[in-house]
Amino acid sequence: MSDNKKISRRDLLKATGAVGGAVLAGALASCSKEEEVAPTEAPEVKITETPAVVGKPFDGKTVRVHAISGANYDELYKLIPEWEEETGATVEFVFKGNGFETDKRLIQDFAAGTVDYDVCWDHSSFFSQYVKADGLEPLDAYFSQEDLADFIPRLLEATTRDGKLWVLPRHFDISCNHFRTDLVTKAPETWDEFKQLALDITDEGAGLYGTQFAGKEEALSGRFYEVHTAEGGNLFNDKWEPTFNGAAGVKAATMFADLYSAGAMPPGMTNFLWEDVAQNWVNGIIGMYTEWFGWYGYFQDPEASQVAGKFDIARQPKGDGGIHSGWAGHHGFSITKAAKEKEAAASLIKHLTSVKGNELEAELGILISRQSVWDKIIAEAEGSDDPLAKKRLELALMQAQEDFKTPPLIAEWIPTSNILYPILQQIILGDVDPQAGLDDAASLVYDMMKEAGYY
């Protein structure tokens, strides 16, 4: 350190004295102020007129956002500047990442108590973890019944827990059955028909597989969940004991295993995730399968897809339970419990999930959350050149209204899935018998739920 930067003892004493003096003066001042405002009699209350609002409602405030990003997600954020202009607030993104990265960061922040943002991205499959971690603010105080009236009720129900609404839905996705019109003349009504049809249209010589499913992680657990539900099963009973090893579960798992062993699904199926199954479909090697509506634009792109214009869509089959499959999820926004600007955060969420926001996302082909926007886009689809345009929208809306089912609204869904999917893979590959495998999985899930304090 050079000499001119050295602080002498005298300088230090001076500085300490100055700071001490300032603190003392401040303390005395505040004491005298307290004395002033501690009257012996009640002060005279002057009623003055409320000053006219000259500024904007959130002038000078900053709303910090932890958001999902990528592909279509960012389009919606183009609405933010006009909200900033209207309200006087500023939006600052503290994090942007894909869904899984965002989820991981949120979980860690809630656990570590390092949440320094007001709005966070949320998902119907994940929000229960954040609620359990005490990281979210219920939205009921910020949104009236009138505000919520236009949202599809099933979407709101999907993120209502303990009687409170935690996520305001932005858009959703659900799967429908996609089938090649050159191979399938009538879509299967039941999973039994689906299985038989998949076996019938498989043509090993031509490299054509009857069907496929994404075969790992939550993608596989979710598909099992929806077939199992259709067959009349529940993953858990009302005491949160696993029940997926019952007859419905065994039937669902057996269908996967039978289709695989018969060669009606690609041999690498247990390594597939969403992009892999979509790729197989556009390569024309799959006859029929259930897929999210979100891929539709890609499938109808003749540049990328060999099946463009050669397929149709239908509601997912039902099972012995008389229920149509409908594993679904929605993206949305939540307010964090640690938010400093809760009112402004609610206003921003309201803006992003407004009719305007929904219209913007609907233009991108995304399935949006407001009924009024659905009515509008279905009416507009009448004149579309795409023969499936209107049917697709009507089908998606009907499924959202009638078939939309989320996995159990508990924080332990992903841990349950992590236990379940490797065993489902073993069943599919024939390493273990369906009943024995599901019994094993149920026992492990029971232990995990017990540790989590459910019983």
Binding site: I107, Q108, A133, K216, P267, T270, N283, I414, P422, L429
Partner: protein, 314 residues
């Protein structure tokens, strides 16, 4: 150890320690203190905290009602067949990968040490697989072994003319072998570099003497090269074993430990349980068990390194 130290070395050691005055000793400690503090902060504290977590029921979604559960996580772990399967598979993977890398690496190193021209170029080409991030190698080999559009099946189709749909990453034991191939491709160059350096550093006199005595090439390799090369072999094997012992990225990309746990190694299992499943307490106990085993393994290897070093000198 002391008995084997030379008198000169003993004098130097004594002088170094004994001659330090109190002030110098304090200075030495003060100079070391920042490093010690940093190590304690970035290594010691996380390890102790992780050890503490392993005795609790901490999960990321349950950070408030955390209780000490004693050895419950360890007991649960030892009762999990999936853990032992992953553990056994990891040991098998390490054993096969390290030994195959050693054999291939030794062969290549011998050839390269004899190359008269272009050694530098050969070494650069040889090092290339090491320059790729494991995650990229994983993606590359995942594509090679893809059953629909992969290189292997297309190659087989070109050769045989028959459509081959071999699910390389699914079938037993092909999935395991596929990952092993990727690992060996990526890491053998490391063995080559270390072993070639060892071969080039060997003294020439014993080989000349053996030549005079009429020893065959095999005898020279068996009785001269290998014993003198052993410190290098053990060092390379110890480093590679530890490296492979923490294999995660390659496996995660190629198979994620699946399907149906068929390629599950210890760290993909830890990741699924601890990070994806948010169960940090059980994950910590599993990590500790693994680290202790790795420590014993390292101790065994380094003991052999030291032993072979002295044997080489004698």
């Amino acid at each position: 150890m002391t008995a084997r130290s030379s008198p000169l070395k003993r004098i130097k050691e004594k002088r170094l320690i004994g001659s330090l005055g109190r002030q110098e000793r304090m200075l030495a400690i003060a100079l070391l203190l920042p490093s010690i503090l940093i190590i304690l902060l970035v290594v010691g504290f996380p390890m102790l905290y992780s050890l503490y977590l392993s005795f609790t029921n901490y999960t990321l979604v349950n950070t408030k009602d955390v209780d000490i559960v004693g050895l419950a996580n360890y007991i649960e772990l030892f009762n999990k067949p999936a853990f032992w399967q992953a553990f056994g598979r990891t040991v098998l993977f390490i054993s096969l990968a390290v030994n195959l890398e050693f054999l291939i690496g030794l062969g290549i190193a011998q050839l390269m040490a004899r190359a008269v021209k272009g050694q530098g170029l050969l070494r650069t080409i040889m090092m290339m697989p090491m320059m790729f991030a494991p995650i990229l190698v994983g993606f590359q080999f995942k594509w090679f072994f893809n059953d629909q559009v992969g290189l292997m099946n297309n190659l087989l189709y070109s050769i045989s003319g028959a459509r081959q749909i071999i699910p390389w990453l699914v079938d037993k034991p092909l999935g395991f072998i596929s990952i092993l191939v990727a690992e060996i491709w990526m890491s053998t160059p490391f063995m080559v570099v270390i072993l070639e350096a060892g071969i080039l550093s060997l003294p020439i006199e014993p080989f000349e003497a053996a030549e005079v005595d009429g020893a065959t090439s095999w005898q020279k390799f068996r009785y001269l090269t290998m014993p003198m090369l052993m410190p290098f072999v053990y060092t390379a094997m110890a480093i590679r074993s530890l490296d492979i012992g923490r294999a995660y990225d390659l496996v995660s990309i190629m198979t994620a430990g699946g399907p149906g746990n068929r390629t599950e190694l210890i760290w993909t299992y830890v990741n699924r349980l601890a990070f994806s499943g948010h169960d940090y307490s059980l994950g910590s106990s599993m990590s500790y068990v693994t680290v202790i085993f790795s420590g014993l393994f390292t101790f065994y290897f380094f003991r052999n390194v030291i032993k072979s070093r002295w044997e080489g000198r004698e």
